[in-house]
């Protein structure tokens, strides 16, 4: 990592963070919270006070200097978070899902205010990194959008946004760009963008145990029902709107359905399959039957679990047994989550029962 051309090691770059959860100190007043980073830099009381007041004024918190965070609404709390980050005049500001804990209207207001600070160069900050799961938010704010993929983390796609500010959600080019990003998100990862030495192992794991999205099977029903209502085909961002979900909630469900062959993803559109339609229209028992068939056909780890249980005389195995299998292909924490998801799905599909107290899986009689 480099900072002004020098390796970061030993340097303390002038950066700041705005937290998703605000991370304000509840026992400090607004102005004390904002002054805290200045104290850490050894700046005297008078100067500290002056600078804190200036930035509090800039984010529109005038008159709340001596309030405690718990007296403030979510939006005001995040204004304090922004003021605290900006008071050190960082060259680079990082924002970790800064608006996701706020309601839609408040988030919209705060985005506007942030843009105003930035565009009118009221702050000396030279770059802002925003992490978000909200695609429209990214398109409203950013000059450059980078879509990340995982396992291992890599750059999946990159977009330059050249729309003039303020950007209009309804404008054709805006909508087009949002659609484009959704399309990029649903495309299969391009393995060649991953570092070469990790490719081999990663690809092998993918073949043997494709990564399960961490979803509950019940969530798919709502998605498929809406698809049926949209006569079987819909734009992803339309679906996101209808379900009022952000991509980080929508995509895993979508991936699950695609993995099980209940829908297909094509150029940013979701298209329902006959199985998917049957699932959407079925009652609970029918849905479970379809799910079971789809899972056994498409999810190797569950197929393997069923076979292993069948092979045992008492039809019972400890869950750790499968954990060991997964450990070879995933990191320890991920293997744990993969197993939890597999157990979740297997129970729903009535392949096996799971006793949490003893940690044992038992094949369901059919």
């Amino acid at each position: 990592m480099y900072w002004h051309g020098q390796p970061v090691e030993g340097e303390t770059p002038n950066v700041s963070i705005v937290f998703q959860s605000f991370a304000l100190f509840p026992w400090l007043t607004v102005i004390e919270n904002v002054e805290a980073p200045l104290e850490a830099r050894g700046i005297g009381e008078v100067e500290r006070h002056k600078r804190a007041l200036r930035i509090i004024d800039a984010v529109g918190l005038d008159g709340f200097e001596s309030a405690y965070p718990k007296e403030l609404s979510g939006g005001m709390k995040q204004r304090v978070g922004v003021a605290r980050a900006l008071v050190v005049e960082p060259e680079v500001l990082f924002m970790d899902e800064p608006f996701s804990a706020l309601d839609v209207l408040t988030a919209e207001t705060l985005r506007g205010e942030l843009l105003e600070l930035w565009l009118e160069t009221k702050i000396p900050t030279r770059a802002i990194f925003v992490v978000t799961h909200n695609i429209e938010e990214a398109v409203v704010l950013a000059d450059r959008i980078i879509v990340l993929g995982r396992n291992p983390a890599h750059i999946h796609a990159e977009f330059n946004v050249e729309l003039p500010y303020p950007r209009d959600h309804k404008e054709a080019r805006f909508v087009e760009l949002v659609d484009l990003i959704y399309r990029a998100l649903t495309q299969k990862d391009h393995p060649e963008t991953a570092p070469a030495d990790l490719q081999g192992m990663h690809a092998a794991a993918q073949r043997r145990y494709p990564m399960l999205p961490h979803t509950r099977p019940g969530g798919m029903a709502g998605l498929l029902e809406i698809l049926v209502d949209q006569s079987g085909r819909a734009d992803l961002h339309v679906l996101a709107d209808e379900l009022s979900l952000e991509v980080d909630a929508l995509l895993p469900t979508m991936d699950t359905a695609a993995m099980l062959g209940l829908l297909k993803l094509e150029e940013g559109d979701a298209i329902i399959t006959p199985e998917g339609e049957a699932f959407a229209k079925g009652d609970i028992q029918e849905r479970k039957a379809i799910f079971r068939k789809a899972v056994l056909a498409n999810v190797p780890v569950l197929r393997q679990m069923e076979q292993a249980l069948k092979a045992k005389a008492n039809r019972t195995l400890p869950a750790e047994f499968f954990q060991d299998l997964l450990d070879e292909h995933f990191s320890e924490a991920e293997a744990q989550r993969q197993l939890e998801t597999a157990i979740q799905w297997g129970r729903y599909a009535e392949i096996f029962d799971f006793d949490a107290a003893s940690g044992k899986l038992t094949l369901t009689d059919t």
Binding site: I17, P26, G44
Partner: protein
Amino acid sequence: MPSPPPVTEPQGPIPPAAARPVGARWAYAFLIDIAVFLAVFAVIFGVYSIGRSWFGPVHVEAEISQDPRSLPLYALYSLVRILVAYAISLVFALAYGYAAAKSKRAELVLIPLLDILQSIPVLSFLPGVMLAMVALFPSRQLGVELGSIILIFTGQVWNIAFSFYSSLKTIPRDLREAAIIYRFSRWQRFAELDLPFSTIGLVWNSMMSVAGGWFFLMACEMFVLGDKDFRLPGLGSYLQTAASNGNTRAMLWGLATMVAVIVLMDQLIWRPVIAWADKFKFEQVESAATAQNVILSFIRRESLIIRAYRRLLHPMVEWLTLTFARGAKRAARTLTAVQSEKQRAWTGWFFAGVLLVVLGYGVYRAGRELALVSGHEYLLLFESAGLTFLRVNLALIIGALWTIPVGVAIGFSPRLARFMQPLAQLAASIPATALFPVLLLVLIRLRGGVEIAATALMLLGTQWYILFNVIAGAMAIPTDLKEAATVFRFSSADRWRRLILPGIFPYLVTGLVTASGGAWNASIVAEYFHFQGKIVEAPGLGSTISRASDAGLFDVLLASTLIMATVVVLINRLLWRRLYRLASTRYKLET
């Protein structure tokens, strides 16, 4: 006193806020200043008389007056002892907890050590502490005073240390990250994150510790050590002397004084402190009921205290913050990370080496001491441990039997809680040891009265932990679950089995753990008592420790202390920790 795991403590009802008459602000400020002035004069007189007594020549066997008129001064002596011990406890506990929470290596040793140390009753420390202090100050009363203060300290410090440690361990991640990102210096982190986050736990545990100080006061102010009879003028020794002489009138006077002091302290110190600590509650949304306090609102006005804070404390804090911030900056520039790491490892090894040598020698000496005790005596020791075990658990069962229904009734009914909680808190704040002589007056005439009295003292001293936790647990049961039980027409038995007992289980376990540790510690005073000119004794490990301490039998004292610590730690590990795990997994109410 044992360490209570952090739990939401029941809070007393809220005294009405002081209504401030319009325009009378300055009159109020004036009154407060006069009160502060008077208080300052009283303090100066107190300091003077304490100084005269501490720095005067040694009065090992000071005559303890039984005149009620000497009570105010005695109460002051005791109060100062307890408060000084508490101040030392607080500083020590903060350092201990900080070290344990910040260093993985230290944590490995310090936390199990804490477990053991808090299972050792105060009297076991007595001979060592006393002899060392008297040797340090042979010609001054100060030595004996310090000895007594250190004894009180050993009873107060451990739960505060544990509370601070566990608070530090539960600081939310985002706040820790914020402190790192904004490059807080160690001091700033301590002052703006660690300490505020731990304040509420520290306040509740401080209250418990000071209550523990009162509980063991009689044992800490008057004791026999071999051929020496130590007596320090104070409330504890007053009560103790009254009990030994069978002077009922003096007993009642002493008891009344103690209750008065405790109630006054509660109203003048703890209530305002609790109301003040409210701002450290870790919450993002303001709760409906915020604690208010008349005295706190007095202080918050322009009074001397606020002015003194602005003048003295604030510049000091500011100076520390800036100095540390600059220091951290310089350190970051000059020292590369590797170098300081190496240096620290080296000093660490050095201290560990020294410690090992000292410990090794200590273990060797202790082993030789323990070898002096005969096999027959060990048999007797185990037998008495068994007796105390039975007594402690009997006290716990009786305590649980009455506190569970009463606590649940109080917890379920806000109306009942409003007037029962302050009553229960008042009752809990009276040290059972001070009540004990009065109780003995009645029980001593019965057959087996000593046995009953010993169990009763354990019960009196520890039942409150169970009661307050059960109340808190009952209050924490969600209303919808209670309504569901009503809707489905649970029978009374089903209600208890399916809803109430599982609901209060984690709290009940917390209460029982604390009570169990407390009862073991209390056994030293419950099983051995100077009363009406003779020694009243119930056979058990507690009385063995007290007797050995009185007679200066160091080998027996060491052996019995070791057995008690082992038993208590074993019970904690084998029983309570398991129940705890069950409580925090299966019986945790999650939303």
